[in-house]
Amino acid sequence: MSLRVYAIAYLIFLYLPIFLLPLFAFNDSTIIAFPLDSLTFRWFYELWETPALHAAVQNSIFIAVLTAIFSTLLGICAARAAAKYEFPLKRPIMGLIMVPLVLPEIIVGVSLLVVVVQLLEWQLSTWTVVGAHVLICTPFSIAILNGAFQNMDTSLEEAAQDLGETPFSTFRLVTLPLVMPGIISSLLISFTISLDEFIIAFFLTGADPTMPVYIWGLLRFPQKLPAVMALGTILVLLSIILLTIAEYYRRRGLARAGLKDKGGFL
């Protein structure tokens, strides 16, 4: 009983702020406060009318897509190597790869800024953000893919070779389809992390701000706040859709492998 009360309280605590987003996004007043005014779509219209926001969103999506692809590729290589081969210092190396997972982002941001600007003397640009995001997303990708690769029975790969496939075609025909749910998870999660990452993007972004950096800039103008709420509403909807897709693929992967469902997102 008390557990149920706790669970409900926790859910309210967790989701109340998110429910406030659409509430004020459709509220016809520049002031974020109760009581609510009449229903309006003008904040969404305002978003539509702001080219600087479109540029920021495009920039963020571009960065997030590249980040997702690169960190997943790196993750596949690392997880594959860890699952298949024994090499000296394997554990320390795998441990070191995972360290960015726990480093404070502000430290990573500052040190990357120093490296990029002072040591390498590169121009800050979209690409420096991509590089930094790959750095922080790769550990997540490895963690997800490690699970996928380690769960795979190695005799399946041996069976494919035994049946005449080369190591490469074995990877394509057997390994890849079996770890595909992991790959999709990794793509979606690194995409999401990159899309809403602020601190590192703030340090490393060049002339074109990313979406979080742009939103942060908007906060200085209180009359823009309802538009930010509208943007937030769209992002929440998008996240739910992405999560549902990820979950669908995860379940399909499980069903194909004939495994029992253990946990998951939804």
Binding site: D153, S155, L156, E158, A159, A160, Q161, D162, L163, G164, E165, T166, L173, V174, P177, L178, R256, A257, G258, L259
Partner: protein
């Protein structure tokens, strides 16, 4: 038939310092049903995987149908394997699993379908092609694994404990089916098992392995009746070992066996080589029988007491103590109509045929 299909000579395998295969010398003939038998960890799987190409021998030569296999990867070898876990591809259905190895054979879709259907029929899975891999029972998975390997018509089929995951009934049924299948397709089968009964039932010849070494290679009857070492004798079935002294008497060996008395053994009763002095003599439980009142006996007899009795339904096993010998010997009797089952403590007269005795040098 010309020459062996598989020939191993001087094969060694090291895992680091661990010597997993030692001086393996083995020839296997085409069309043979050959078993590798031994206790857990003796190197059976290692030997099978060396033949399949998943392990490289550290030393020695492996010839497959006359070709040296050094450096030849598994996908280029004329062998196929049925894995212990069956390794059915979970993302493919039954037909796709069976067709997997046919991908590079340049067959039309119709030819492929025909081959798959034929292979599935061979293992008794007609009409199962559309089944998802996870919707199969253990026995069915194993049949799919068999069909998937056999559809490629390999020169040699390697099976790593294919029946160990099945329950007893299913296992016995599959033993018969595997044997029949092997006769039907005529492909050389190499079966790894730690179940001596399974090896005896199914094989043309058996290699018994201990600690990376082949102890004896022989047909089932020879292996059972004339094991070369006491270790082999002990591993295959039950063997009573009795201390004895031996000395030569012309061609044969005269022995004085503790509790059983004198016996003269022919040279073929010393499969591990003739030995004299302190030796052991072995006899199987079913070669000793109880003698009941009024029965006429031509063989040697001795007086004993029943120490323990084990009733199996079709058979009864007895541990009986010989006079002046500490260790009881085990014998078995078929339970036929009119034959009583003796209780513990009952006196019993036993009889044996000296031709069933086997001499071991240690």
């Amino acid at each position: 038939m010309s020459g062996p299909i598989i020939s191993l000579s001087g094969v060694q395998k090291y895992y680091g310092d661990y010597h997993a295969l030692r001086d393996i010398e083995l020839d296997i003939a085409e069309g043979e049903f050959f078993s590798l038998l031994g206790p857990s960890g003796c190197g059976k799987t290692t030997l099978l995987r060396t033949i399949a190409g998943f392990e490289d021998a550290s030393d020695g030569a492996l010839m497959l149908s006359g070709r040296d296999m050094k450096g030849v990867p598994p996908n280029k070898r004329p062998t196929n394997m049925v894995f212990q876990s069956y390794a059915i591809f979970p993302h493919l259905n039954v037909a796709e699993n069976v067709a997997f190895g046919l991908r590079k054979h340049g067959l039309s879709a119709a030819q492929k379908d025909a081959k798959v259907a034929e292979a599935l029929a061979m293992v008794g899975l007609e009409g199962y092609g559309g089944r998802a891999a996870h919707a199969l029972s253990g026995g069915q998975r194993q049949r799919v694994a068999l069909a998937r390997a056999l559809v490629l018509q390999p020169k040699v089929l390697l099976l790593d404990e294919p029946l160990s995951a099945l329950d007893k009934k299913m296992r016995e049924q599959m033993q018969g089916e595997l044997r029949r299948l092997q006769r039907q397709v005529g492909i050389t089968f190499i079966l790894v098992t730690h179940d001596q009964e399974e090896a005896l039932i199914m094989s043309d010849r058996i290699a018994v392995m201990f600690e990376g070494r082949i102890a004896q290679v022989a047909a089932p009857q020879t292996l059972y009746r004339r094991p070369e070492t006491s270790q082999v004798a002990d591993f295959i079935g039950v063997m009573n070992f009795m201390p004895a002294t031996a000395q030569m008497a012309g061609e044969s060996v005269e022995t004085e066996i503790a509790g059983l008395g004198k016996a003269s053994l022919a040279p073929d009763q010393c499969p591990g080589g003739v030995a004299t002095g302190a030796v052991h003599v072995g006899i199987r439980p079913e070669m000793i029988s109880l003698v009941f009142e009024g029965e006429e006996v031509k063989a040697a007899t001795a007086k004993t007491t029943v120490v323990e009795q084990y009733y199996y339904g079709d058979m009864t096993y007895y541990d009986v103590a010989l006079e002046g010998v500490e260790k009881p010997i085990t014998l078995s009797m078929k339970n036929i109509v009119g034959r009583p089952v003796l209780e513990r403590g009952a006196p019993a007269r036993i009889a044996w045929d000296p031709r069933a005795l086997v001499l071991f040098s240690a």
